[in-house]
């Protein structure tokens, strides 16, 4: 364990932060650019995971397990979200026969 942490710490923290931010931004860009609900879910997962990675990195740098414990919670939440999301998708698909989110505009104004 000590070893792993030491190994992680050989890469400067900034790199992690920048990497995670990039990952997060890719996720955001994905959400914005795609109209396919599944791809959007995947992008959101990417955002969550970038946060996970960031938490882990901080946790490792500070020798504080709290961050990593949090990550477990987040993974549970993310799993639940995906489950719900896919379930909703199925329901929506059943009524609209498409998974394009632009079709969803019955409710407006």
């Amino acid at each position: 364990m000590e070893n792993t942490i030491a190994q992680i710490q050989t890469i400067p923290l900034q790199y992690y932060i920048i990497f995670c931010s990039a990952l997060f931004s890719i996720g955001v860009a994905g959400v914005l650019s795609k109209r396919n609900a599944i791809v959007i879910f995947m992008s959101v997962e990417l955002m969550l995971n970038s946060a996970n990675l960031l938490l882990t990195a901080f946790s490792a740098y500070r020798n504080d397990p709290a961050g990593q414990i949090f990550v477990f919670f987040i993974m549970v939440v993310a799993a639940a979200e995906v489950a719900i999301g896919l379930g909703l998708l199925v329901v929506v698909y059943r009524s609209t026969k498409t998974i394009d989110i632009d079709v969803l505009n019955r409710l407006k104004w």
Partner: protein, 630 residues
């Protein structure tokens, strides 16, 4: 003695309340008697007061209660009787009583007689307040009150809108004058901290002559007086006011109310003598009014309107006197005028009565023999007003003419001219109505009859008064004592002390001239008009100067064009355009704008989830940008 002034108010008030409240149940015959009784009571009281004052009592004061009192302001409800008041009381109640009695006959057939007498009593009540009050604010109560009674009486036959229009016009024009009086009171209070007339007089006499404050005050007072006493430019209501029953015209619009303006100025004589500019203005206004009204009178065809213009002219004459600081002259003419003008009106009323409400003199003529008593009385009135000795008008006019010649030759000639105009229109009236061959209408009318005794007796009394009233003030030329002037002398002591050259030291020649010159011309004019008017030929009023005069110098039309129409237009404009279109639309516009904004704002909510996400990201970027970068 203290209770008497109060009684003066209470009696007519009771009369009014009784008659007014039980309008329906009091029989008409009783109403007249009741009303006359109250005035009779007042006459007795007035006489007592008059002689009490003559025999030494200087002034009677009654404070009834605190009317307005707070902080340092104190305006009590207070009555005061001095000689001026006593004189006015006599005129009001004397002429008033006669006219009340006359009205019993005149209004016998009218359904609303009870109401009529109630209003008359109301008028008497307010007139008493006017002359009895010790301060201007109380005076104003009477001032407005007589205006109100006048309004009610002019519009007495309210079924006809012409009468109502006349009443309304009278009230509104009077209000313009009232505004002047209010302004005067405000100025007075602001500078003297009191509205008590005698206190103001004594405080004002400390001021120097020509003080701009006094100028402003007197101008405002004079505006008030022009409204009530029908002077230029506010005289147009008086001829129209003839729409009321004739006794009203006699009492209110000839003998009493319209002279309130003179009374007001006489009361405030101290202020006026301190302001020579105002006196000159009064002089100019009085002269112009007298001449203008006299000219108009010549060409009128309505018997009452002629008398009305005559009244305006005579009032102008009195104002001329005032303008020359001859307050006693003005008061004396007011006094005599009350008798003969009331007589003339009543006689005219008798004529109208005889002809079943015919007022157009072109439809008269030849009445000399048909209603001889009325004719005789009318002649007396005409002679009196024309200033032919030894009738009353001669003495009072002489006093004013004397003052005028003393003032300047121009004024003297102008005053004489006014006096001559009187002769001209009065004799024209007399000749056309009584001497001219009977018109078709008169010939066809078989109901022409002399008026009942209840009408002729009061007229006769007035006629007697018109004959003899002048003798109480015989010109200095013939007598050492002038009863009238001496009686009023204490009232005007203060003001005469302030004018350097008031007491007229006349030389005999001048006075003879003033006496004789007009008389000669008068007789000439009488002859002239006899030749001119007894004949069939009516006046040619279709062209030239005559037409302008016959059309009353277009003053009514001018007012209509300059004031009435613009205000009416502005009223509609304000209502329809400014209020509805501009203000209301603007206010509604604020509300509607919000609604419109809302209408478009909700369109942002496109319903597209992708769009929502985009906005979120943009907002976050903006947020970070403003917080971190800036």
């Amino acid at each position: 003695m203290q209770i008497l002034p109060l009684l003066l108010l209470v009696l007519p008030l009771i009369g009014f309340l009784l008659l007014g409240t039980y309008q329906m149940s009091i029989p008409k015959s009783l109403a007249g008697v009741l009303a006359s009784l109250t005035v009779f009571g007042n006459l007795i009281i007035s006489a007592i007061l008059f002689f009490a004052l003559a025999s030494g009592t200087s002034i009677i004061k009654v404070e009834i209660f605190d009317w307005i009192r707070f902080a340092e302001m104190s305006i009590p409800c207070e009555l005061v009787v001095d000689r001026l008041t006593a004189l006015m009381l006599l005129i009001i109640n004397g002429v008033g009583l006669l006219i009340h009695i006359y009205s019993i006959g005149y209004m016998k057939t009218d359904k609303g007689a009870t109401r009529f007498f109630a209003y008359l009593n109301l008028f008497v009540f307010f007139m008493h307040i006017l002359v009895l009050s010790a301060n201007y604010l109380m005076l104003f109560i009477g001032w407005e009150g007589v205006g109100l009674s006048s309004y009610l009486l002019i519009g007495f036959w309210y079924g006809n809108h012409a009468n109502n229009d006349a009443a309304k016009k009278a009230f509104i024009i009077n209000r313009i004058g009232d505004l002047g009086l209010i302004m005067a009171m405000i100025l007075l209070y602001t500078h003297f901290q009191t509205l008590n007339i005698s206190e103001i007089a004594s405080k004002a006499s400390m001021l120097e002559s020509g003080n701009p404050l006094v100028l402003a005050i007197t101008i405002c007072l004079f505006i008030g007086a022009t409204g009530k006493s029908a002077q230029l430019p506010l005289f147009t209501w008086l001829p129209d006011a003839m729409a009321g029953p004739t006794p009203v015209s006699a009492l209110i619009h000839a003998a009493t109310m319209v002279t309130a303006g003179i009374y007001l100025i006489a009361r405030s004589s101290v202020l006026f003598v301190l302001s020579p500019i105002t006196l000159n203005i009064i002089l100019i206004v009085g002269t112009t009014t007298a001449i203008l009204a006299g000219l108009i009178a010549i060409f009128q065809t309505d018997i009452k309107k002629i008398l009305a213009y005559s009244t305006v002219s005579q009032l102008g004459f009195m104002f001329m006197a005032v303008g020359m600081s001859a307050f006693d002259g003005a008061m004396f003419h007011l006094f005599t005028h009350a008798f003969f003008k009331a007589l003339l009106f009543l006689a005219a009323g008798s004529v109208i009565h005889a002809l079943s409400d015919e007022q157009d003199i072109r439809n008269m003529g030849g009445l000399k023999s048909k209603i001889p008593v009325t004719f005789a009385l009318f002649v007396i009135g005409t002679i009196a007003i024309s200033g032919i000795p030894p009738f009353a008008g001669f003495f009072s006019k002489e006093l004013i003419l004397g003052a005028a010649f003393h003032h300047s030759l121009t004024m003297g000639l102008l005053a004489t001219g006014v006096s001559l105009l009187t002769t001209l229109y009065m004799f024209r009236l007399l000749f056309v109505v009584f001497f001219k061959p009977a018109s078709v209408a008169v010939q066809a009318n078989h109901h022409i009859h002399e008026s009942p005794a209840s009408m002729t007796i009061p007229m006769s009394v007035l006629a007697i008064l018109s004959v003899i009233a002048g003798f109480i003030n015989i010109p200095t030329l013939f007598s050492e004592t002038q009863l009238f002037q001496d009686y009023l002398q204490p009232v005007f002591t203060q003001s005469s002390q302030l004018t350097e050259h008031h007491l007229l030291v006349k030389n005999a020649t001048e006075e003879w001239l003033v006496l004789i010159l007009p008389l000669v011309i008068i007789f000439g004019l009488v002859l002239l008009s006899y030749r001119r008017f007894v004949n069939e030929k009516p006046l040619n009023t279709n062209t030239g100067v005559f037409k302008i005069m016959a059309d009353k110098f277009y003053i009514d039309e001018l007012y209509d064009l300059l004031i009435v129409r613009p205000i009416s237009f502005v009223s509609t404009f304000f209502r329809e355009v400014v209020d509805q279109k501009i203000i209301n639309e603007f206010i509604n516009g604020i509300g509607n704008t919000t609604l419109v904004v809302s209408k478009y704002l909700r369109l942002i909510q496109t319903g597209n989830a992708g769009f929502y996400l985009l906005i979120m990201v943009f907002s976050i970027i903006a947020l970070l940008f403003f917080n971190i970068i800036l």
